[in-house]
Amino acid sequence: MGEVRYAIDTHDLTKRYDNTTVVDHLSFHVLENEVFGLLGPNGAGKTTTILMLLGLTEPASGTARVLGFNPTREPLKVKRLVGYLPEKVGFYDNLTARENLMFIADLNGIPYADARKRTTEVLDMVGLTSRANDTVNKFSRGMKQRLGIADVLIKQPKLVFLDEPTSGLDPEGINRLLDLIANLPGMGTTVVLSSHQLYQVQRVCHSIGILSKGKMVIQGDIDALGRDELAGGRYLIEVETSQPTPQLLDVIKALKGVLNVNAEGNTLVVTTESDLRPDLAKVVVQNNFPLLQMKIQEFSLDDIYMKYFKEN
């Protein structure tokens, strides 16, 4: 087993603007090759955190390592490996989509022939091949957003920060983009996704962190967080049967690891300590009860998010 490698690792990262603390002793880490969702209400310090990790703005105190480099002291090394899609992405309106990308490739020191090839590739990835030679001032908001993704990918980054990447996209565009994002870890790119669209985050992110007033309030795996926050660390398994007899309840209750069983109509809600679906299925079928369906309760990010911000 190799050691766990962090793409991002921060300790007590703090940022103040005119005596207001925007990011407050933030410590978190992002594993390599995962999609990390950075959530939080407006003004929670998400963008400021990203800017600090890019070395675009200096932290007041604390340290950060991005891909093993200190972004404050070695910003160029970080920027060589990291792509950033700002929330309000802009392009040079007088240049074509291809020229805009070629300029970024030039800034990254990519040789001309390579740059042309990569430009064609990334434009294809975001579905803009047919518009490659149109000037950007003719582009819609969604097309600019897609060009922004292409712009981030052209340097073949090890880590990308995407700030609200789906805003302005149509549903089909969102789906394509989410698929694209989900594929990035397979290509060796870690993704940090900042978004308010909880459903989209849940669809692609492996783990999340919720920021509030500059502090990380929850961090971790979405499923684990749901269980911890909403079900006290327990699993809820729904078993649907056509004959919810008291006998069946007794049989299930006798199973090791089952804490509680409630009948709700034809559905039995079983609280367990671990994922007991195989055992449950076996017990039900072996005792000749008809099993219609069984599912483990999934926790939606909405619930986790709302629960946290309702409490506070």
Binding site: Y17, V22, L54, T57, L76, K88, G90, Y92, N108
Partner: protein, 309 residues
Amino acid sequence: MTAVLRKELADYFTSIRFIVFFVLTLFGAAVGLITASQGIRQVNLPPDFTFLGLFTTSGTVLPSLTSLLALLVPLIGIALGFDAINSERTGGTLSRLLSQPVFRDSVINGKFLAATVTITVMIATTLGLVAGYGLRMIGVPPNAEEIIRLFIYLILTVFYGAFWLGLAMLFSVVLRRIASSLLVCLGIWLFFGIFILLIAPAIANAIAPVTQNSPEAELIRNANIKAMVMRISPNTLYSEATGALLLPIAVGSLGMISTTQASFMVANPLSFSQSLLLVWPHLVGLISLSVICFAISYILFMRQEIRAT
């Protein structure tokens, strides 16, 4: 930095404002040539400086080429620089640009250099065209001294343009709105170009009041104060230096000469070394002004925070 320089140069040379100002400058050159062709016989230039007369001769109605350039160059500098940084900011390209592996100063250096190159190309082309057509027109070739004088005039003009460019870029760093940086630049241009002509005599009269029958010493003091105030303006520095370089007989404009003294003056042109000596402070002043302007915008840009909003 070469990447930024390349892009900015390409941008400038294809931009509408470049074309507009280039056409204006060429138009100015044409006007200057026509003026010179009509007036050059009357101005009685010393034989060594006939060729320079092409650039400095003004007619009864039409201005000379140098005075047209003196008017256009600040505007070109402002036009190329007033939105250098804040257009990137409002367009949302600045944070994208700065998240690339380039030093932050190469952005502002590249822009400044590209604009300076653009100005140089514009002015050098204009001077070259006028020299060429003028040669055909008057048939008097320039001598070596005239060529050196013209070359120094070119350098002087480029730095004059660079000063306005630096000033415009400074405001493009400080002010977030493109319209306000343009307005402030034009305001300063108006102040140095026109208002100082009204203010300087007022200040001189307040410090050293003169009447019609004041002694000569008082008159000289008044005139010196006025000239000193005027020289705050880079426009004055530029036009005085231009005069001493290209029209070396009219150096009287650089200092006070009384009518009695003037009657003894021999119409003898200044030698090149004397001209250079005379304009040296002007040249250094203009260069340092442009360096200061650029340095301030450089420092401010380097320290400016890229904020989340």
